[in-house]
Amino acid sequence: MATGQQTLQQTAQSSHMSAGNSASSGQAPIELDRLTHDYGSRLALDGLSFDVRPAQIFGLLGPNGSGKTTLFRILSTLMVPTSGHARIAGFDVAKEPNRVRQQTGIVFQASSLDVKLTVAENLMHQGHLYGLRGPQLQARAKEVLARVGLTNRAKDMVETLSGGQKRRVELAKGLIHSPSVLLLDEPSTGLDPGARIDLWNYLRILRDDQGVTVLVTTHLMEEAEHCDRLAILSAGKLVALGSPAELKAEIGGDVVQFETCGPEAAAALGARIAERFAVAPSVVGNAVRVEREHGHRFLTEVVEAFPGAIESVSVSKPSLEDVFIQRTGHRFWLEKNEEKS
């Protein structure tokens, strides 16, 4: 949608400006400036520019292959981007990785714990890697363990812990050096609902009590809803940026969906709806989606206009999924047009 594109461009420009004076205080904890990465011929990140604001939980939402893992690797200094810049606390991730690493706590998607060591030993080891030692490290390890509620398991082997407990140790490990920025890659993977709620509560405490900036990657819409702000990625591009509420508000009205018997029928129905009602429907698989005020009224008009073409209908308030479909659907449509011309 045109308004959406404009907002994006404005944000991109403002991020450029703030990147220019990143040396001054008050810079964004994470800044991306035309960040691009390719694996040979495949473009994984395509000119990403945005800022993450301090003491917020920022979500990086996208399906598999959208580039969020690549971005995570670059931010965690494990990979150097092909072009563009990413800065954490003002330090360029490619040029000053060690300064970035001191500022950043990382919780990887896969476990990074040594299961043959105890919980405390894992934390001590991690502390050593960040230059902590002696009584300071001991105190710090105790403190982060207390924060994730595992004080009584300190002397247990990691292999005896449950999945949720292991993830809490990972979190404690990432926090051992008291980072100002915490990066988490798909943190809810393999956690039961209770453990997920716990995790998000911990993240909120970190944000509110410690002023930690948290960046979370996820492919789960319901998880993205918990974030203060979101960047939605698709095929390496930024397709939406804003709070979940803002993004959903941009859609306006209701989302009306018409299920048909197949993709071709859906395309045909989409074209007919567009012609008759002067709207811009998006065709997703077997379904035609339209964003519209007073969805229930529009729905009856369409069903009456095209009897037999529709198998089922639904009206809903816009979700993040609708945001994603709207933005990426629009993009596909643009690409098709470009091919024709």
Binding site: R73, N98, H125, E143
Partner: protein
Amino acid sequence: MATASLPARIPISTSPGLWTPAYSLWRRELVRFYRQKARVVGVIASPLLFWLVLGSGFAKSFQTHGPSSAVSSHYAGYFFPGAIMMIVLFTAIFSMMSLIQDRNEGFLLSVLAAPISRSAIVLGKVMGGATLAAIQGWIFLVFAPLAGVHVGLLGILYSMLMIALASFALTALGFIIAWPMDSTQAFHAVINLVLIPLWLLSGSVFPASGASGWLRIVMLLNPLTYGVDALRNGLFPLETTTFSPEINLVVTLGFCAVVFVGSWAVVNRRTNKPAA
């Protein structure tokens, strides 16, 4: 909250330098090894078994073929330094298999993302594996009297030094092989294809003097030959060995330097591909 004493949003991480992380990684290798009892038993028992079986099995055939060599009067004695080298090789190489595990289990990722130099990783891992291998080798020296070795303090100290150097070199070699790998199966293939022949052709099982043609040349080019020969210097001081103790020491030190630089180089290789 208990955390109120710590200033918010100011990371307490300082530059960890080289030694603290290296020490931590070194210590981890040791703790892991001795927690896995099967590894401890296996690494002591298999060369012992190998030495007893091969040593006594070959003894007869070696004595009937040709005149008894000057190297050793009976094969169990001859084979003893080779058995030590085997225990060192196995411990060193298998300890570096943990590198592949670390990579696959994600542990390595958190090490690579820490503000440490890659050199600390090499140092910690290689010293860890080398320490384990050296300790196992030293323990095996206890069996020396059974092999008919009666040696003074100097011989023992020289042997211990050579065991330590060989442990270091072989662990570093294992590091070079394991670093770019992501499967332990591939690592096993390399062990069978490269490392076992390296050991077989080091004078551990049969002397270079008895080998002919190209085999002899391969044995002379094999850096491990000098380590095994050095152990013979230490354990059988009265017998003439292929090379002098000085040459053996220098070549082994050179081997250590080359593989350590090599492991440092593979770790610091810049790449645009994912680090782990």
